[in-house]
Subunit: 251 residues, 2 copies
């Protein structure tokens, strides 16, 4: 069995912590990495504060196989992610000529160009992360991947990493919709969980089309095992006189 | 000047880390606490794993004035937040009769009731957090507030805490919309930030109605100072031949 590959996500930005901006990057990164066979085990949202970014990067890069950051790589004074990552690794920033030449393609007055070229500074030893939107690239240093905060740009950067990372078995989800309250299936689910330690059984109440119910999401690397377990969950719903929906493999 | 009061948010749940569920609790809690005068400085998303929950609760409760958790307080086997918080404080769980009597109002077969009564278990020494939706209450123990994960229930619980918490000065936001790229104002903003260390100046690019631009969000406790600074930012936009929009106080 291939080893599990883990990741941590760092969302860097005061605008998320103040509630001004609704984060959508966590779920996109988590889903994408999950599809590739990388399990996101940890996320943090931290402010644009140098020492906090440095300490957090150093803490998580030693704990997880990969670290993905979003935010703080624009041209303004509050964009400090690149210099913080450099400090975390005890290296200096240098201008990357590949990013610089992309930035210089769009002409600008000297002072504006100077600000834009902030985005070309990467820690010594970095590799570039392509930016298919045409803007400045992101970068990676060892196991830390530094991406933009704007969702469309982050998504483009992340997609360019497909096939380049170490991955484990993909954890698949198989869901069953039960028209029963969580409490009505709690005992049976608990027994199933005890009997199936390699599968993670989650229970999520819902209210839809005027009906209450519970979606059971079972997660594991072996789809045949998931299918077997889903049938048992369907039986639980049928035994209670309801008509469960086996939703099959889901995201 | 009143002292700053800080908070940390813990989102507990595999469904957020897998990307299955889009979190909306962080921004709601952050905005609500911000309006009360409590600054959210840190958020984490962690899995339904006992030791991780215990260690994280203990780490953040010593660092921030308040900790707010969401998720993991339902009736099923994967709802382990209450017992983890109890273990973090080295106390045991006990059945709270006020929650139990609310749960018992809705009749159910014995085994179902047994599962539902899991939601009445709180760590010894807890206070209840009211649940205006009518469901089981949440609880707090010292500075840790344990709430439901379902957004509507969490929001109801949080609203019941209004007026009960220690608060500092409210950090207000004042925004100016500039029809200029970030790089075009980067240098001027950097100087303004140096001149105004008590105000946090953030710069957020946007694309709306076919126009590119940058929203400058300035945050601080003194609205008069924010207004003065906003006027300076408007001048920067005007000097560049554009018509900035002073959006006034914003969330």
């Amino acid at each position: 069995m291939s080893e599990k590959v883990t990741a941590s996500i760092l969302i860097i930005g005061n605008e998320i912590l103040s509630g001004r901006t609704q984060d959508v990057n966590i779920s996109h990164i988590a889903k994408t990495l999950g599809d590739w066979g990388i399990v996101v085990e940890h996320c943090r949202v931290i402010p644009d504060v140098e020492q906090i970014i440095i300490d957090t990067v150093n803490e998580v890069r030693s704990k997880y196989d990969y670290v993905f950051t979003t935010g703080g790589i624009g041209p303004t004074h509050d964009d400090i992610t690149a210099e913080c990552v450099a400090k975390a690794f005890s290296v200096v920033l240098e201008q990357n000529e590949e990013i610089a030449s992309r930035i210089k393609k769009r002409p600008a007055p000297d002072d504006v160009m100077q600000s834009r070229l902030r985005m070309a500074r990467v820690p010594v030893g970095s590799k570039l992360i392509d930016n298919p939107t045409g803007g400045p690239q992101g970068f990676s240093l060892e196991n830390v991947f530094v991406m933009a905060g704007i969702p469309s740009v982050m998504q483009a950067m992340l997609s360019s990493l497909d096939g380049t990372l170490k991955t484990g078995k993909v954890v698949r989800s198989h869901s069953v919709r039960l028209y029963l309250g969580e409490s009505q299936v709690a005992e049976a689910l608990s027994q199933l969980q005890d009997q199936n330690p390699l599968i993670d059984i989650g229970s999520y109440p819902f209210f839809k089309d005027d009906k209450y119910g519970t979606v059971i999401v079972i997660r594991g690397t072996e789809t045949a095992d998931l299918k077997d377990l889903a049938l048992k969950i369907v039986s639980i719903g049928q035994a209670a006189g309801t008509e469960p929906e086996d939703m099959g493999l889901t995201t």
